[in-house]
Amino acid sequence: MRVLVLAATLAALSAGAALAAGALEVVPEAPAGSTEVKIAKMKFATPEVRIKAGSAVTWTNTEALPHNVHFKPGGSVDKELEGPMLRSNQTFSVQFNTPGTYDYICTPHPFMKGKVVVE
């Protein structure tokens, strides 16, 4: 019963998200032409990337230590987006719909910093 209710809620949520996508939109898989950012040795390998509005960035963790991508409100980020922890070889993709500069960190390693400049 509870499972059924939850599934219905999820369907409603995803419908809403598709209708009103914000500046940052988590997308399920790396879309064609998305910009790659590798994570290795406690660093975002390309800490600054430039993309066109409407395109995506895909992060891939290449080491055993889990990392994530975390946008905190401030600057161009109007709503917090805390990505899931990525284990080795897992990926996370975000589509950027609005021009601006989007700073991010890794939640447990706040000294890991990166930015996406959307033109």
């Binding site: 960190i105 939640t107 706040p110 000294f111």
Partner: protein
Amino acid sequence: MMTHAYAPLRHAFRYGSSALSAAALAALMAAGPVAAAEPGSAAKQAADLAAGKADDPVVLKAPAPNARRVYVYDPKHFAAISQSFIIDGDTARVLGTADSGFMGNPIVASDGSFFGHANTVFSRIARGKRTDYVELLDSRTADPIADIELPNAPRFLVGTYPWMTALTPNNKTLLFYQFSPQPAVGVVDLAGKKFDRMIEVPDCYHIFPSSNDTFFMHCRDGSLLKVSIGADGKSQTKRTEIFHKENEYVINHPAYSPKNGRLVWPTYTGKIFQVDLSSQEAKFLPAIEAFTEAEKNDGWAPGGWQQVAYHRDSDRIFLLGDQRAASKHKAPSRFLFVIDAKSGKRLSKIELKHEIDSVGVSQDAKPQLYALSTGARTLFIFDPETGKEMSSVNQLGAGPQVITTSDM
């Protein structure tokens, strides 16, 4: 009886008790010779009773703090509410207690005039709205003298590291560390009783104030960072040379003496780095090895929580050590190594005969050595000169870990 007396105050000095009945007093009297009539003692109460003196309950004041006033902080194994015990080292008595929130950071003024905590509380005990604040308490009454809220819950919630929250030498500013979302140091104006600002810093940790507007931090790359707070709100930072290798792990509980600017920082293996910050620039002194190669091969290494203490006048280092397996650096130690900070020479090895987690030292001319056992919940007081245990204070909460004294 003292530790069981009920005091209806949040923070309380309670070294008196009028809870004993006349019958109990009579029994106590009969049981042994009358000791010196201390205030609150059974003998004193019996004498008062015999003299027909009426019982007159009052809220007590602690004596003026001295160099042997010791604060023991009990984070209670990450409980939502923690507690500080206020102890007189001379008499080995609990003078009072002060309540604190989740993972508080105890502080004490360098002149002893106040103590307090950087605190975190929630509206529903351990959930709900979070409030971070700094509370200062009068050192004789434990009454609050300041309550300063910190905006946006910026405190770093971590097992208590004393140098994650620090006072400037004039006791007018409190600095605290923020870990997430980015490393920063919060500035709290204690004199003006208001939060001032956050200073963004690189990935550096701990706060060692060397003057009223300068502090140092230790960075992930192995350098120190000098931060000048700046009166105009514009802080400046400068990195020193890298002073230790990447595989030399310095512990989370270095000793720091703000009065002479000495930073004493051991590694997991007992190599001790010393930095002199008194000139407002970092002067790196020659490193010391606490253990010989033979001892290291026999498994000797530092271990515990507050593993090191430094006595300024005698320039001595006190280091907890024991034989331990690798990665057992947080396990307690049964020995204390007394080391001359200048020459690096070992002066003595004290067998503590207890499992000790934290060590502290009073800063007077003939210091007391404080050895705290988290497991036994007891503070043992030693004479570091003879290595003799002089007294102890037990029943210190659930998991006491941090010793704080002031260098008056």
